[in-house]
């Protein structure tokens, strides 16, 4: 997976701008990787491959925009659920490839158009659509086997996410039967994808919650810069990256055959953990620079860890030296600094692939920005790779004072559809 295609858009050829698109083809070898491409403009396509051994949108270099949503499955019939997943997968493949849902633009004037149309003529801009299944797809709140899938439920989902100190979770913004992570470099293309998936779902699945994110907070490829979070810091430098060795990815990211014999269908897949973390920006902003740096463990401007004596000559990629002592004989990186709490070297070497986004949902009724981090991580086993780190964070991390965890989700992300599959997780039903 991760194969990227740069070619002339078929839509450009079919549409009014056909000649223009043809004319642009000669120069269309370099990857176009930008913002909105207006309809009628030269169409050079940056399309991620939908098909692969693993789903796109995990080790794909993190795009700039996120739309994430969870659905409640409303049908009670197993065949209707499978039909929905097939139709969603078909639509996802079409949209990822830069095509209209349903294929062609000329449709029956007596029927509503299959595709809602707001991405018509737009570059797919690296769109990826990733599907995952929550515990409630397998069993309801009473433990009833909803679709005959209970005996294949991964033990990780059955155990659920433990409660953490200071959790302020909102049920209607958490969990859900099926999650869809939509990422791309054009916000409208991402929203279009959710809009159409939701429509296809009517009668079988209904939106439970959705979240728009606008600035990636992690890099998942060594070719990408480290972005900043809304506290103004470069964070998440020690992420799993697509360039890591297959062994490293197998160890930390992909569920391996034999990990969970009852859920062998998930081998080659992964687990997605999501946390909506509200950041109390107004309060954070009033902390002195020295305090902010101490809380984070890094230089705000240069990104270097505080163990570096002169951060001007360093960057965020310098390995932190947690043994370093400052002029005051105290640890240069304080005991409760964020990077000390979460760094793999302080957590038995566990790593995760973080793929979070900043979000801002307007403001609350007190006039504060309702903003923060929509944290997303992919891990082979959250019980060893995520919960212990989060527990430590909520107990000891200096940042915790300025954070509030408002929503939580845990989903099993099946492997990709490969060459011949009809939807991700087909083997679960097989």
């Amino acid at each position: 997976m991760g194969e990227t295609k740069h070619a002339v858009s078929r839509r450009g050829l079919l549409g009014a701008g056909g000649l223009l698109a043809l004319g642009g083809a000669a120069g269309a070898t370099a990857g176009y990787f930008g913002g909105t491409s207006a309809a009628g403009a030269e169409h050079r396509v940056h399309a991620e491959a939908y098909r692969g051994a693993t789903q796109a949108g995990i080790i794909t270099p993190a795009q700039d925009q996120l739309v994430m949503a969870a659905f409640n499955v409303t049908t009670t019939k197993r065949d209707e659920l499978q039909a929905l997943l097939r139709e969603w997968s078909t639509a996802a493949e079409q949209m990822t490839g830069g095509e209209l849902v349903g294929g062609e633009p000329e449709e029956n004037p007596l029927a509503p158009p299959r595709d809602t149309g707001e991405a018509w003529g737009y570059d797919p801009a690296g769109l990826t659509i990733t599907f995952g299944y929550g515990a409630s797809l397998f069993v309801d709140a009473q433990g009833t086997d909803r679709f005959g899938l209970k005996d294949r439920m991964p033990a990780v989902l059955a155990a659920g996410v433990p409660k953490f100190p200071k959790d302020a979770l909102q049920a209607d913004k958490s969990d859900g039967d099926i999650v869809v992570q939509i990422c791309g470099n054009d916000a409208q293309v991402c929203v279009h994808a959710l809009h159409n998936l939701a429509r296809i779902g009517f009668g079988r699945a209904a939106l439970r919650w959705s979240q728009v994110g606008y600035g990636r907070t992690s890099s998942t490829s060594k070719s990408q810069d480290t972005p900043r979070n809304l506290f103004g810091y470069k964070d998440g430098t020690n992420n799993i990256k697509s360039e890591d060795s297959a062994d490293e990815l197998a160890r930390h990211l992909w569920v391996q055959s034999g990990d969970d014999p009852a859920a062998e269908w998930l081998a080659g897949g992964t687990f997605l953990v999501a946390r909506r973390i509200r950041m109390l920006l107004e309060i954070w902003d009033r902390q002195t620079l020295a305090d902010q740096n101490d809380f984070m463990g890094r230089s705000k401007r240069y990104g270097a860890p505080l163990s570096v004596a002169n951060p001007r000559n360093a960057d965020e990629f310098v390995t932190p030296d947690f043994a370093a002592v400052g002029p005051d004989r105290q640890p240069a990186i304080p005991d409760n600094a964020h990077i000390r709490i979460v760094h793999p070297s302080m957590n038995n070497g566990v790593r995760m692939l973080r793929r979070g986004y900043n979000y801002t949902d307007g403001n609350d009724s007190l006039g504060r920005l309702s903003a923060g981090l929509f944290f997303i991580a992919f891990v082979r086993d959250p019980r060893t790779q995520f919960y212990p780190v989060l527990l430590k964070m909520t107990k000891h991390d200096a940042l915790t004072e300025y954070l509030q965890h408002q929503a939580s989700g845990l989903y099993a992300v099946p492997p990709g559809v490969g060459r011949t599959g009809r939807f991700p997780g087909e083997a679960l039903f097989g």
Binding site: G103, P105, R422
Partner: protein, 433 residues
């Protein structure tokens, strides 16, 4: 408040090439007479014959390739898809049955449902024997129009007599009886609302405005407060009387003068009589023509009634004083079921799986509504709770509820209505050709 003319216009311009898919299932069923075999590989798309006589054509599509594939029949312009079956798995066989008119078409496949078409091949449909199905369908279409016209007349007649009873109690100051009759009489109007909305005496829609106007709309036009006496003076019809009956004592909405009450009652009956006269052919409408429904009106009616439920009833904005929205909801739903019922035989013939889906989804929403029903009155009419006790609603034409405030009951209603509405939106294309 969509005029019924919208779909009629489309129907006139409809291209007769539109076809319906029937019996597309993933299970192989035995191929009958006249079946064409389509063999798909990853790089080819072979149809066993290059032509067929017009009428019902059955394609048995077998994917012998290694990837999921799509089979399409395109119109002569090679752009418009007249029939398609997506996501046919490797090694599976599906049936694609369509009624095809004479003309030139193209068959093609699309591996993985994206990218270029594979094996685009001309396919001719030659003049065949007059198709039996078409005759049947024509008869069914005529029957649908006749019986829906009768239904509208029946409802308008019952509306008139029930309106008279309500108006009498209201004018006489028998508030308790008037309050009880209010939602029941309105049900006859709500069942035929999209049709009734289109009528007018001096212009289309003016009857609906006279009968069913909400104070919010009057105030908006006058750019004034809903309780402004000047605005209230221009407001008449069902909801004016609702506001009087159901608002608290001392409210600006109360009508204290018995003569003014009598005038409201008289005007309601007169306008309802006019509606009935129009529908029953005793007078012509604003366009000088007698009342007639078209097949397009019936299709549009079912969807429009469910739209009414979604926009006005679930959110509790229709009956902002009485909170009798669930009576309207039931009537809208029944009206939609009748409208669909009149074209159901056509859908069954052309797209049986769509019919099954609509029938199931109507049943789901009806069951949800049934759950809220508190009982049945002596005359067989339903009784429902005050909607404001189970839902976040607009009260006395005040603020609309916060988007986050809707209750689980409203959520269930909304999911159910979305489901059936999405299915109903596909009916017109099946019926109108």
């Amino acid at each position: 408040m969509t005029p019924i003319t919208r779909l009629s216009t489309l129907a006139v311009g409809a291209v007769a090439l539109t076809l319906a898919v029937a019996g597309c299932t993933d299970n192989a069923t035995p191929a009958g007479a006249g079946t064409l075999n389509v063999t798909i590989t990853d790089t080819t798309c072979q149809v066993s014959a290059a032509q067929a006589p017009s009428g019902t054509v059955n394609f048995e599509v077998k994917n012998t390739g290694t990837v999921a594939n799509e089979f399409e029949i395109l119109a002569a312009d090679k752009l418009r898809i007249v029939v398609e079956k997506e996501n046919i798995g490797p090694g599976t066989t599906v049936q694609v049955t369509t009624a095809m008119a004479e003309g030139t078409y193209y068959t093609a496949c699309k591996p993985n449902m994206v990218g270029d078409l594979v094996g685009v091949t001309e396919f001719k449909v030659t003049p065949g024997a007059q198709v039996q199905v078409s005759d049947d369908v024509k008869q069914l279409q005529d029957k649908a129009v006749d019986s829906y016209t009768d239904y509208i007349k029946d409802q308008a007649g019952a509306l008139l007599t029930n309106t008279q009873k309500f108006a009498q109690a209201y004018a006489a100051g028998d508030t308790e009886t008037a309050k009880r009759l209010y939602p029941l009489a309105r049900m006859y109007f709500e069942r035929i609302e999209p049709t009734a909305e289109a009528f007018g005496i001096s212009e289309p829609g003016d009857l609906d405005a006279a009968l069913d106007r909400r104070i919010q709309d009057v105030a908006l036009e006058a750019n004034a407060q809903v309780t402004d006496p000047a605005v209230l003076a221009q407001w008449h019809g069902w909801h004016r009387m609702e506001a009087d009956l159901f608002s608290a004592a001392g409210s600006a909405y109360k009508i204290t003068d018995p003569a003014a009450r009598q005038a409201e009652a008289d005007q309601l009956v007169t306008n309802t009589q006019t509606l009935y006269d129009l529908v029953s052919g005793k007078r012509t409408g604003a366009d000088g023509k007698p009342f007639a429904v078209t097949l397009a009106d019936i299709n549009h009616g079912a969807g429009a009634l469910m739209e009414e439920v979604a926009k006005g009833k679930i959110v509790g904005e229709e009956e902002t004083f009485s909170h009798t929205d669930l009576y309207d909801f039931q009537a809208n739903l029944e009206g939609a079921q009748v409208a669909y019922g009149n074209v159901q035989d056509i859908v069954k013939k052309k797209d049986p799986s769509l019919d099954t889906e609509i029938t199931q989804r109507f049943a789901t929403i009806a069951a949800l509504l049934q759950k809220q029903q508190t009982g049945t009155a002596a005359d067989g009419s339903p009784t429902y709770p005050d909607y404001s006790t189970i839902a976040a609603v607009q009260k006395e034409a005040g603020e609309v509820p916060n988007e986050a405030a809707y209750t689980p009951v409203q959520r269930e209603f909304s999911d159910g209505v979305n489901a059936v509405s999405e299915s109903l939106s596909k009916v017109a294309a099946v019926v109108l050709n």
